[in-house]
Symmetry: none
Subunit: 192 residues, 4 copies
DNA sequence: GATGAATGAGCTTTCATTCAT
DNA sequence: CATGAATGAAAGCTCATTCAT
């Protein structure tokens, strides 16, 4: 019985987080009312407080969830140890909903204010660096790329380039352009 | 006489914009009270409304001002037509206060909501692309870099890389690391 | 179930409108604070906004309500087709609370500014003219009054006289004097 | 010298009062800003305070001035002791600017709040009653009208009718209709 | 679990008034 | 006499949060 309840609650939580994420992305955290979130999933304000302590908690949980979704997507794409697994990752990322893909950029706004968000993003950043650096080392071993540069620095450069493209998309860069820019960019950075 | 008045008012405007920019950056637009801005420069709330229509107007003007400051900084640094004028630009940028350097990232949050901000950032983006593409073409002519790639695409890649580094800095990347990453990254992207 | 809720809300609306009407009359619309209205019925400001969009909306609804209350009072009094049904109407009117009886005079202040108020009062004026003209025609048919004058013009004259007495009351004319002035006045105007 | 200054000041006062009256009538006392009044006569806010203690003082003085203007107009028209001197008065009144003619209706709004306004209007009311009652008595002596009714009561009825027509004009009654309604109405009330 | 009426602190904005020049 | 920059008290309104049902 508690299992069932728990599953139901988990489902409800997910629905709230998903809808909140969309709203936070599309109209901004501060422009989103608890009422808007509630209405968007057909419940009333009070219900949200059964699942989340307060609005900030909801933001943090949404941030955490989107970070996790993206990380899982990366891990899946990156399992092949070839260069184009990066391409696959980016294409996979492009398939994710915008409010998941871009959430971190908007969460950055809260970084100076909210320590929990800062930690989540920083930890995620570290994970990405580690993961990609490991892949790069494999590629170096297999001599797909040359081993002259520090793999961590290279990973950081790839991430920066990737993140930069996403910000450009927010300023109007098209998706196809982004994909091709990503592909040729990382090859230049890896001197392939 | 009116000239004097106008100078005084212009100065007052500048002080408000500068202080507002700092606060918008450090605690966020929505977390900044008109009262905070007023107090930070030793006046009262009412005074702000002598210079700006409302809070949103203040945000837009601050955004515009920071964009302009950055653009001027770029134009000055980029006047020499050698490759390391890019380095100079980035170093110059690092010397600017954080609330000017990073303002656009935080303004992105308002992009989905505020059309005026969107226009300002989009126009600035276009200017940068044009300016850098022009420099790149000069460098191609002088055969400092090879002329095989489209200069606009290359410019967009450089900008993306640059912007990505800034986002990484917000996630904890140090300033020295950023500078060296920028220098080596653009050389890789330009295949120099 | 929704019926019950709706009844409760309807009741709450009525209480707000009634108390707001009183305050608007006694201290003036612009001198009445939302806080005052709220406190007068033992709720807080926020509650008012659950029932009315804003202060102006509250004014318009109060105006509408008072117009309706007066109109109903007129219709009831006027059902007998004798001359003294006018007397009954005026006496009935005197029994209504001052803030209902005089509201229209105070609403006139907003007429130049607020189109909705203007429409409400203008429509009410037309209704009164029609209603009274119809009664006058009946009285003419029954030869209670002579049929030499235009019934609409006569109705307008009666209304003007009636309204004028109300303004005099605001300038200090006593209620008993008003009643007797009304009774003899309309008889003079109708040449009875 | 002081005479000249005083004349100048008197002129300035008049200009302010006149312009303030217009604005109070056309947009309402509470919707009129000191700034609006100042701008309307090409000075700055501060100047108003050289001539009037505060905004309320300005209202009271404006009210007083308009009352006086109307009273003088009445006295001039009424000097002939024939019945149609009433007609002349009304026609004269129609020639005055609306913001003088209607000011008292709008001042009524402040009656419940502002004792000074209340006194001014009450005193004016008394003056009118006395003046008209005196005229009526002359007319009774000359047997222009029958002497069966109390002249004061009759005066009050005439005033009420007159005031009522003005309120009707605010609700849309045309000027020509008003004049003819006035003329026939007072003849009915006086049984002439 | 869910509701939704009520709260009240806190925000942006307005504007009559002052006063150094 | 006149200015106009500055004030600050006070207003309307919002919305995250609570809690009796």
């Amino acid at each position: 019985m508690p299992k069932v309840v728990s599953e139901y609650k988990e489902l409800a939580r997910e629905r709230i987080l998903d809808s909140a994420s969309k709203l936070f992305y599309h109209v901004g955290y501060h422009n989103t009312r608890m009422d808007d979130i509630a209405k968007s999933i057909g419940v009333t304000k009070g219900t949200l407080y059964l699942y989340f302590k307060n609005k900030e908690d909801l933001l943090i949980m949404a941030c955490q969830r989107n970070v996790t979704l993206l990380e899982e997507s990366l891990k899946n794409a990156i399992k092949s140890d070839f260069l184009d697994s990066f391409d696959e990752f980016f294409e996979e990322e492009m398939r994710m909903p915008d409010y998941v893909r871009f959430h971190w950029i908007f969460s950055l706004t809260e970084v100076e204010t909210n320590n929990r968000i800062k930690e989540i993003l920083a930890e995620s950043y570290r994970k990405y660096v580690d993961l990609i650096a490991a892949v790069l080392e494999e590629l170096m071993e297999k001599q797909v790329i040359s081993a002259t540069v520090d793999s961590v620095l290279l990973a950081q450069m790839l991430i920066a380039f990737h993140n930069g493209i996403l910000t450009s998309m927010l300023q109007g860069l098209g998706q196809d352009e982004s994909v091709s820019m990503f592909k040729s960019g990382i090859r230049l950075l890896l001197s392939v």
